[in-house]
């Protein structure tokens, strides 16, 4: 099939996708160039599966989350109501739990362990260890070499200052859901401009500057290897982390230089886009939407197929007083003590997050890739590490999975599992969909069937 014959993206489509509610200056100026004609012969029909995980801190008001009904016949709950246009594109998953995060403290253990399904070490630093690899990184390690960036990690809040002396955890934990290895959390980008530049740079660099960078990096590798010889085991591990980061950059350059990678050619390129502003937007809404745009951009240009995004860090106390009917900050309100007024505000904040999720789904659904939409070729998980923020309980976590995963997921259903079904079961299935199957993931028992 020749995808060029299909309707290509127009600026108008994109704007429609962006939703009338918020026309971002950056998005407005964005233009998508048509695919280069000369490369069309190699284009396979099947687009790859893309995966994003959107993390919301602080849990949800438990009574307002779960939909009524089961299977294909279900009624969205008040919080999920913004997903109404996409009811046929989502799976709501009820009664999954993350057993290994049911200890330690109320937040850090849950956040850092959300995608690893492990119990992190309690420490203010010295033995920082999540004791696993996060699900997204398991996928990245299998298929990351097919794209310029194996994965991207985005967020809103910088790592909070200090250690939490009271519960005895470094706040580093609360700022990371993506773990490449037990001791390697992945730093996330919170500045839209910098994230944009990285995405574009990763996909677009070439020619002389590539060669020049390559020579510099070769020097670094020599220095680092020479240094390794002088160090004790633990210091060597640190330098090795640096070596790996340089090596991954080199590999990316090589792939670009040799035009390796997946034969699938994305529909969109970066040309003619206006970059986001120099400053991080003051407004939380605008900041979040820019980050979502960037994930979509990275997917549609096939710069990466794996993304994680944190709406806030663990214990996030972003003040939502700018939101109608809300007068306080997120974490404060999550300790609602079953007071009506606080519950209402807490619910409003959860619903606001759902609106942003809907925004992303809308954008992805509007972008065509051959006969499918980007959403049909993707899966976008939304989740929190707690059920009720007042109880800090990782039972029955609020989890939604959107997108058809390239036809591997039958959406439009509310699936209710037996109590204490491992969340890791879902990860096992998602890794399958990503083409990165594993036998076992943390406390997983069996795959969750995603196809009806």
């Amino acid at each position: 099939m020749n995808i060029l014959k299909n309707k290509s993206l127009s600026r108008r489509t994109l704007l429609r996708g962006a939703g009338a509610a918020l026309a971002l200056p950056w998005l407005e100026a964005m233009q998508i160039r048509k695919l280069l004609g000369s490369e069309q012969e190699n284009v396979p029909a099947k687009a790859p599966v893309r995966m994003a995980v959107l993390f919301m801190p602080n849990g949800v008001p438990p009574k307002k989350w779960t939909p009524e009904g089961e299977g294909a016949d279900f009624k969205l709950s008040p919080i999920l109501e913004p997903l109404a246009p996409f009811q046929k594109d989502i799976l709501v998953l009820t009664q999954l739990w993350n057993k290994n995060s049911d200890s330690g403290d109320g937040h850090y253990v849950k956040t850092a362990g959300l995608l690893t399904s492990t119990t992190i070490n309690k420490t203010v630093g010295v033995d920082l260890n999540c004791n696993g690899v996060s699900m997204d990184q398991v996928a990245a390690q299998k298929i990351g070499h097919l794209t310029p960036l194996p994965s991207i990690e985005l967020g809103i809040e910088p790592v909070a200052v200090g250690i939490d002396g009271v519960v005895g955890y470094t706040r580093v934990y609360g700022a990371h859901i993506a773990w490449r290895g037990p001791t390697s959390p992945l730093a996330k980008e919170i500045h839209p401009r910098l994230a944009y530049e990285r995405i574009v740079r990763a996909g677009g660099q070439g020619g002389d500057s590539l060669q020049a960078d390559r020579s510099v990096l070769d020097r670094v590798m020599e220095d680092a290897k020479q240094l390794q010889g002088q160090l004790g085991a633990n210091d060597r591990r640190r330098v090795d982390e640096y070596l790996q980061s340089v090596r991954s950059l080199e590999q990316r350059m090589d792939r670009l230089a040799n035009h390796q990678g997946d034969p699938w050619k994305p529909r969109a390129s970066y040309d003619g886009m206006t970059q986001p502003g120099e400053k991080i937007p003051d407004k939380h809404l605008e900041h979040c939407r820019l980050m979502i745009d960037l994930m979509v951009l990275a997917f549609q240009t096939d710069t990466t197929r794996i993304a994680t995004f944190m709406f806030g860090n663990s214990v996030s106390n972003i003040n939502f007083a700018w939101l109608d009917g809300v007068s306080d900050a997120h974490h404060s309100l999550s300790h609602h003590q079953n007071e009506e007024d606080k519950l209402r505000q807490y619910e409003r904040i959860a619903k606001w997050h759902m609106e942003q999720y809907a925004y992303m789904l809308e954008r992805m659904k509007s972008l065509r890739e051959g006969e499918q939409s980007l959403l049909e070729n993707s899966m976008v998980m939304f989740g929190s590490d707690l059920r009720d923020g007042n109880a800090h309980d990782p039972h029955n976590l609020p989890i939604v999975l959107a997108g058809q995963g390239g036809g591997r997921i039958t959406t439009g259903r509310h699936l209710i599992y037996l109590r204490n079904t491992p969340l890791a079961n879902l990860y096992l299935s998602m890794l399958d969909v990503m083409g990165a199957p594993v036998e076992q993931f943390a406390d997983s028992k069996e795959k969750i069937p995603l196809q009806a």
Partner: protein, 683 residues
């Protein structure tokens, strides 16, 4: 006392340690190990228990007679275990496989550290004894936890002085920016696009433990290097700084390049670059020349190689062979000093003192410390240390008062809140003032806005506008010192109201280093229901909350301190009323002392100034070493506290003491650097 003196004595046996006399004199200056837990060793030695095979005394002289003070901690601890723990954790039917009774000596406890870390943590958290057993009061839980900790610390203080671990540190974002600033002589934040570092160790973002590297770092360093060098190439004075030699009639381009690159690399690596390193970098220059670059361009290209080298990005120190700690070399010491006080590379003078080796002499580095503290380059450290210690760095960022309630709180006010403690700290550093001023000073730093905000009328500094200036306080004023500063008062409040609990916790944790354990799980927080709020001040509501016995024990230590600060609203403004009712700022500490207001509360904190100084010392040492403290470091802390106490709490005395300490002067053997993953956790 006995053990401590012995341990210092054995420290003298390291023959190559050049400063031992100084350290010896210093260490004996104060009363060391005044804490009652010391006596547990005395007790053990006197009783000549089973496992002790030899006296720690290196020269075989008879141990001093042990005096057992009362109450004896070992006996107190075993009595506690007997009464609360053995019933389940003993012998055949031991719960959870744990037989506590078999730990009948210090040695046996010390030999099983992971287990005792768990015991300590679970008792402190109130998880043990379990619910259906008689609960331990919080004071006893805290005492027991401290006792276990001290067992390990005291044990680590025996034998030779230990430098502690020396994990390889990456430059953090600030240090990277400052280093590039000084290397290139540019005013440009080269680290602006690097990921933000989290904190570890003693709570600072320069802690080796948490300075991990992600795949993103490699490319960020490369881009940042290119950006900074581009900036430099366009800046005349920066170019002059880098190109101290240019090709001319007597100098070939290659020789000039070699000189420029060699000097730059030596500055960046904080030690002379080796010939092999320079040759390697020269290859980059030659590659560029082959591509028809200009001389300058080609050199700049080679400098990229310097700025992304791990020798620059990590604070690399030479290997220590063998199994014994070794004295530090002058270049490493100059770098440690420089990254401690400036968070940047050593300057020319420090490099000269390193080159001739004199930097290791105490009179030389004492002068350097004074010079460095008087330089504006001390500011990044002051900002980074104080902002992270007090938590004020986050004001206006993560910590934002509710904008609907506090219209006046804008970016400028937030900046002034962040700035005040920084300026005060810089002032104390520069003028070698007493640490105690941090708690109680007769001056504040204000701008025109905060001058009004603090209700000041007298001594207004001339031309006071936006910049903060020092201002003398009238006698008896509530302000002065960090506890009543607007910044910390804001940090320890909610966005929309004050919190005596958070403020009490802030004072205990940040000032006195004695945070209470976290609240028990699933506790009912303070009710915010309108019917519960009506007609009550926050204080009255909290007092009701404390009627719940599960909450009472901790809140009895927390709340009164916060009550004393209730005259300050959630952005630190003075107020008379809360919820329309007059403020009652009186209180009683669990120790029984009472106070009427913040001023009297501050006096009570001052009575605990040694506890404050100890905590401050822990923080400063943690910052200086760029890592969390380990057991053996607490021997150093005790000595530092004793010494600074004898010297009127002067801050430079503390800094010099840190520089003199084994942790700074010695380096552990490379191969047995304790691994990063030693302590076990969560079981």
């Amino acid at each position: 006392m006995t053990i401590a003196r012995k341990s210092i004595g054995s420290f003298l046996d390291i023959p190559s340690f050049s400063l031992r006399t100084t350290w010896f004199a210093f260490a004996l200056a104060g009363s060391i190990y005044a804490t009652d837990t010391t006596s547990l060793f005395a007790q053990q030695t006197a009783a000549a228990t089973d496992l002790r095979t030899e006296s720690p005394e290196p020269n075989g002289s008879p141990p001093e007679p042990a005096i057992a003070p009362t109450p004896d901690p070992w006996l107190k601890a075993t009595a506690l275990l007997e009464q609360h723990c053995y019933c389940c954790h003993e012998g055949e039917q031991k719960e959870g496989g744990l037989d506590l009774k078999k730990y009948d000596s210090i040695e046996r406890i010390v030999a099983d550290r992971p287990m005792w870390d768990t015991v300590r943590r679970r008792v402190l958290a109130g998880e043990m004894p379990p619910r259906d057993h008689e609960p331990l009061p919080v004071e006893l839980r805290q005492w027991f936890a401290e006792w276990v900790q001290n067992v390990f610390r005291e044990f680590a203080c025996q034998g030779k002085p230990q430098p502690g671990p020396n994990p390889l540190r990456r430059l953090n974002r600030n240090q990277y920016s400052n280093s590039i600033r000084d290397l290139l002589g540019i005013h440009f934040d080269a680290g602006h696009s690097l990921p933000i570092d989290g904190a570890g160790g003693e709570g600072f973002d320069n802690a080796a433990e948490t300075l991990f590297l992600s795949p993103i770092h490699g490319e960020k360093y490369l881009e940042a290097a290119k950006e900074a060098l581009d900036y430099s190439a366009k800046d005349e004075s920066s170019r002059r700084l880098i190109f101290h030699k240019l090709p001319d009639a007597n100098t070939t381009p290659v020789d000039a390049a070699k000189a420029v690159i060699g000097r730059f690399a030596s500055r960046a690596f904080r030690r002379p670059a080796s010939d092999a390193e320079i040759e390697n970098l020269l290859k980059l220059y030659q590659t560029a020349m082959q591509r028809k670059s200009s001389f300058e361009q080609a050199v700049y290209y080679a400098l990229q190689g310097v700025l992304v080298s791990p020798q620059f990005l990590f604070l690399v120190e030479p290997t220590v062979p063998g199994s014994e700690a070794q004295p530090i070399d002058p270049y490493s010491f100059a770098a440690r000093l420089s990254y401690f006080l400036w968070d940047s590379i050593p300057d020319q003078e420090l490099r000269d003192r390193a080159a001739d080796g004199s930097i290791l002499k105490e009179d030389v580095y004492r002068d350097q410390v004074v010079r460095m503290l008087n330089s504006p380059k001390v500011r990044p450290m002051a900002e980074s240390f104080i902002g992270q210690w007090l938590g004020t760095r986050e004001i206006g960022r993560r910590i934002k008062p509710d904008s609907k309630l506090f219209l006046k709180f804008d970016d400028e006010l937030a900046a002034a809140f962040r700035e005040e403690p920084v300026l005060m700290f810089q002032h104390i550093l520069k003028e070698n003032r007493s640490l105690i001023e941090l708690i109680d000073s007769d001056y504040v730093f204000v701008n025109s806005e905060t001058f009004r905000f603090y209700g000041l009328k007298e001594n207004r500094p001339e031309n006071l506008v936006q910049n903060l200036e020092k201002c003398q306080l009238p006698p008896g004023h509530l302000r002065g010192g960090v506890i009543t500063m607007a910044g910390p008062l804001t940090v320890s409040s909610y966005p929309n109201r004050t919190s005596p609990v958070l403020r009490g916790k802030w004072v205990l944790e940040t000032i006195l280093g004695a945070a209470p354990p976290p609240p028990p799980p699933n506790i009912e927080p303070l009710s915010e229901k309108p019917e519960d709020k009506a007609g009550k001040t926050l204080r009255q509501r909290l007092e009701l909350h404390r009627q719940n016995p599960a909450c009472a024990s901790c809140h009895a230590t927390l709340d009164p301190i916060g009550f004393g600060l209730e005259h300050f609203d959630s952005i630190g403004r003075y107020r008379d009323k809360d919820n329309g009712l007059p403020i009652d700022a009186s209180g009683q500490l669990t120790s029984g002392e009472t106070f009427q207001n913040a001023l009297e509360l501050k006096k009570l904190v001052l009575q605990r100034k040694d506890q404050f100084v100890r905590h401050f010392t822990v923080k400063m040492l943690g910052y200086a070493l760029g890592r969390g403290l380990v057991d053996s470091d607490y021997c150093i802390v005790d000595q530092l506290v004793a010494d600074v106490k004898e010297h009127d709490y002067k801050i430079q005395r503390l800094i010099l003491g840190i520089l003199r300490s084994p942790a700074m002067q010695l380096r552990p053997p490379s191969e047995i650097t304790p691994p990063l993953n030693t302590q076990t956790s969560n079981q």
